[in-house]
């Protein structure tokens, strides 16, 4: 028998009582003003800067990139960024990342976020990658001291349009 068959047969012979698939009925947090909460989360939770309008064309920063986010999540400042071109390395290798996201595209929480991805056919078409980004890369691996700019972007600015 193959390893796959061996593993599956051990699982089937484990003799466990089968638990049914649960209804997920989490009455998740919602906000009176999700945009305000999103801005707040970006600034405090994520450590990102927030501006209004599109990035200025002469916004010259060293090794900076701009990307369009699909939607934001109010509870934690995450922004869904599906891969839309051949290269995705710039999302992580850039020193600074500008993310543009529409005020009309802010959901309350991650349940709504995943429902939106699951319902859409826009993502994972040509490019089979997408990521939630919440602010600059960070680490606290040296004695718990929080440092921004571990491996990926050292700073992130979110432009709300």
């Amino acid at each position: 028998m193959s390893s796959k068959e061996n593993i599956l047969s051990r699982i089937r012979n484990a003799g466990r009582e089968k638990f049914g698939k649960p209804e997920i009925a989490v009455d998740a947090i919602r906000y009176d003003d999700p945009v305000e909460q999103f801005i707040n989360a970006c600034r405090t939770v994520s450590g990102a800067e927030v501006s209004f309008g599109t990035p200025p064309p002469d916004d010259v920063r060293g090794e900076s990139s701009t990307v369009r986010g699909a939607f934001g999540v109010a509870e934690n400042g995450c922004i869904w960024i599906p891969q839309t071109e051949d290269d995705r390395a710039y999302l992580f290798t850039s020193e600074h990342l500008d993310i543009i996201v529409s005020k009309n595209d802010i959901v309350n929480n991650m349940h709504e976020a995943y429902a939106r991805i699951a319902a859409s056919s826009e993502y994972f078409g040509t490019y089979k990658f997408g990521t939630f980004i919440s602010g600059p890369s960070k680490t606290a691996d040296i004695e718990g001291a929080l440092v921004y700019g571990a491996q990926a972007a050292r700073s992130v600015r979110i432009y709300l349009i």
Binding site: I7, L8, R10, V26, A115, P136, T139, D141
Partner: protein, 475 residues
């Protein structure tokens, strides 16, 4: 007399300030986790959902594994099955060697620790570079992780600086670059072990590794059966860096990591970072659904004992664990004894259980590392009954020949006395005499319970006699 854990823990107590620092560091993480839990009214509903989703998935694992394989294959991912560590290591080596890879960049994965992948690949001439900062520090210092989420928090910054200076040839150059980019800082005023500067030096050092590696390896926080996504959560973005540059991506995933669908993913994404580090979210929650253009993606599904755990009626629920580390942060024994006091590579309450499941003879020295305070049960996001399981292991120690002989003898003695009421009452009266005995007798090696803490004083009148009097009064 003492268990392996208690001996190591005693050695660790030699430097009380180190113990205090360790204790406070992880207690702070626990406090941050509490703040997260208290800020969400639906917290307990989330835990309840996570528990039930995991129970369902683990008891239908055969179906979900096949579904995952089907979804992933449809996305162009190569799926491999490994029964044990040896087969897993062989599969990974074969993939790498077929692509002539000499260097692998790797994000954090406890499964690769479990299977000793790094040593295995290095022995075959493949350079493995850990890219999580904490893991890289440990790799350069040749140390093992002391925690599953924050693996190097026990290492002091001065030691990290010394290690970087001796192992990163460009240390001086990278340090100069730091001050060139931060002209407001004066090199003479910045401490030579400043964490921001050391992180910057590691950043430049790892960038070179990302650019020159032939393959990227990641673990998997979750595998979504319905779509074939592998979900990896990091704060540093190192899993994304590891996979964005090299064309080949290999995922190592324990078979228990599966969840059914995106609806379930919403529940776990919300719990993982909040429980693990007390953050609302990790910075990156990345969904890898297939290879990038012109690249290849492989997923190795690893059993290595997990299907046997499923067959264990008392302990199968450890499979629900998502390795957030909350049980160690809250554990008073872990916080004061630290990771190296445990003989299994995963410490704390979950590690005690997983170690016993791996090899109960070899790792039984850890089951004493529990005060049965049950705090771990309260913080576990998927409701694994960690402390009850540890209690059950202790009940089984005698049957595997690992019971403490002195305690065993005393237990026999107590059992003898407790089963003979007259003898018991007589013994109770006599027990008061112990109060008058000198410490050299009470705390002699004969009394296993007198080690490490003060014995109680026996009261003048026993509960037994007080109770009898009470009954007489009611009458």
């Amino acid at each position: 007399m003492s268990t392996e854990h208690s001996k190591k823990a005693l050695e660790y107590q030699a430097e009380p300030e180190v113990v205090t620092r360790h204790d406070r560091t992880f207690w702070n993480v626990r406090a941050k986790r509490d703040a997260m839990a208290q800020s969400l009214p639906e917290w307990e509903a989330l835990r309840d959902a996570a528990d039930r989703i995991k129970k369902h998935t683990e008891t239908h694992l055969d179906e979900y594994l096949l579904k995952f394989e089907e979804s992933a294959s449809r996305n162009g991912v190569h799926v491999h099955w490994a029964e044990d560590a040896e087969e897993y290591n062989r599969i990974v080596y074969d993939i790498l060697s077929a692509h002539n890879v000499r260097k692998v960049v790797k994000s954090k994965s406890m499964l690769t620790e479990e299977c000793h992948l790094n040593a295995n690949l290095e022995a075959r001439g493949i350079d493995v570079v850990e890219t999580d900062l904490g893991e890289r520090i440990l790799q350069l210092m040749k140390l093992a992780p002391s925690h599953i989420v924050m693996p190097a928090l026990h290492v002091h910054r001065e030691d990290i600086r010394d290690c970087f200076m001796s192992t990163i040839p460009e240390f001086g150059e990278f340090r100069q670059e730091y001050f060139r980019r931060n002209p407001q800082l004066s090199p003479s005023e910045v401490d030579s072990s400043d964490p921001t500067m050391l992180t910057f030096i590691a950043r430049l050092h790892l960038r070179e590794q990302f650019m020159t590696a032939g393959a990227g390896m990641t673990g998997a926080n979750f595998g979504i059966a319905s779509t074939g996504d592998v979900v990896v959560c990091t704060n540093e973005g190192n899993a994304d860096m590891s996979t964005a540059v090299p064309p080949l991506h290999i995922v190592s995933m324990g078979i228990e990591k599966l969840i059914p669908d995106y609806e379930a993913m919403g529940v776990f994404q919300r719990l993982l970072a909040r429980c693990g580090t007390g953050q609302q979210t990790t910075v990156y929650t990345s969904h890898f659904r297939g290879p990038k253009p012109g690249g290849e993606m492989h997923v190795v599904l690893v059993d290595n004992g997990r299907s046997s755990i499923l067959a264990d009626p008392g302990h199968w629920q450890t499979l629900k664990c998502m390795r957030c580390g909350a049980c160690m942060n809250t554990c008073p024994v872990y916080r004061r004894s630290a990771g190296y006091s445990y003989s299994y590579f995963i410490p704390g309450p979950i590690g005690i259980n997983l170690g016993m499941l791996k090899d109960s003879g070899r790792y039984s020295g850890n089951v004493s590392a529990c005060s049965l305070c049950m705090s771990c049960d309260d913080v576990c996001p998927v409701k694994v009954d960690l402390s009850s399981q540890i209690y059950r292991w202790r009940q089984q120690l005698d049957s595997i020949g690992r019971a403490n002989p002195a305690k065993k003898l005393m237990s026999y003695g107590m059992s003898f006395v407790f089963n003979r009421p007259k003898l018991y009452i007589g013994a109770l009266k006599a027990a008061r005499m112990v109060n008058a005995l000198p410490d050299c007798i009470v705390y002699s090696g004969m009394n296993a319970w007198g080690y490490g803490h003060r014995m109680m004083e026996f009261p003048k009148e026993s509960f037994h006699s007080l109770w009898k009097k009470g009954i007489d009064n009611v009458k």
